[in-house]
């Protein structure tokens, strides 16, 4: 009986983990975009904060703040931050090259968002690792499709 219980718990935890795995596999377009940014290297989630309003009335100009947790020293700094909006006609929104001279890995700008979606930021650090953060934006008036 305890063995059965153990097996049951193991299968439960597998189920609980399943949705995340499914998300990772179900979005080949996002995977391809991220692979382009990381040049096939591993990508970890964390250290990158994407700050946007959850609801944007107007997709033409959505404020966006990206902050990466980094000391920005010569030995340990952010080399590049890339912004992706996967449902835009051109998903690569912008890419910023930074360095230890910046002192702080933070960028504020305004972007176009074509549809409700996750906006993703990928940071490349000086040690060659890649970190990612994202935020979901709901837009009521879409950008890029005006007639």
């Amino acid at each position: 009986m305890p063995a059965d219980r153990r097996r049951f718990l193991v299968s439960c935890s597998a189920l609980a983990l399943a949705p995340e795995l499914a998300c990772a596999q179900q979005n080949p377009q996002r995977d391809a975009l991220l692979r382009d940014v990381t040049r096939g290297g591993p990508l970890r989630i964390g250290r990158v904060v994407v700050d946007t309003p959850t609801l944007a009335d107007n997709g033409h100009s959505v404020p966006l703040r990206i902050a990466v947790d980094s000391p920005m020293t010569a030995a340990d700094h952010v080399r590049r931050i890339t912004i992706l909006a996967e449902r835009n006609p051109r998903p690569l929104v912008a890419s910023y090259a930074l360095g230890p001279h910046c002192g702080r890995a933070e960028i504020v700008t305004r972007i176009r968002v074509a549809d409700s979606q996750d906006v993703i930021a990928v940071a490349e650090l000086s040690d060659g690792s890649f970190w990612m953060g994202s935020a979901h934006i709901i837009v009521t008036e879409l950008a890029c499709l005006e007639g």
Binding site: H101, C102, V108, C144
Partner: protein, 108 residues
């Protein structure tokens, strides 16, 4: 068409301090998806590159696409090292260039 731009850099800073820089440029950032009054597509024309040099050293570079809003605004940070000048240069897809410069006095 000249590109109007406004750069905000503090007039002075203490050595080692990290200060914000804001830049706003007047530019339509044409996506290439928008039709004109006759239904013809307006060609894509965005500011594709912007650089910031601090006493001649490039400290920041932005590569932008059509996903950046019209009249692009950007804020980033730079660490004060020595007195001098920050120079901003940018270019759009049509080859039009723009430039701004701002002096900074570093104390301490």
């Amino acid at each position: 068409m000249s590109m109007l731009a406004r750069v905000q850099v503090p007039a002075q800073a203490r050595r080692g301090d990290v200060f914000p820089i804001r830049i706003a440029i007047q530019h339509p950032m044409e996506t290439g998806y928008r039709p004109d009054n006759f239904g013809r597509r307006i060609a894509r024309n965005v500011i594709n590159t912007l650089t910031c040099r601090y006493n001649g050293v490039e400290v920041f570079r932005a590569e932008m696409g059509s996903g950046v809003s019209a009249n692009p605004q950007l804020q980033f940070y730079v660490r004060a090292e020595s007195s001098g000048e920050l120079v901003f240069d940018w270019v759009d897809d049509s080859g039009q260039r723009g430039s701004e410069r701002a002096p900074i006095a570093v104390t301490g």
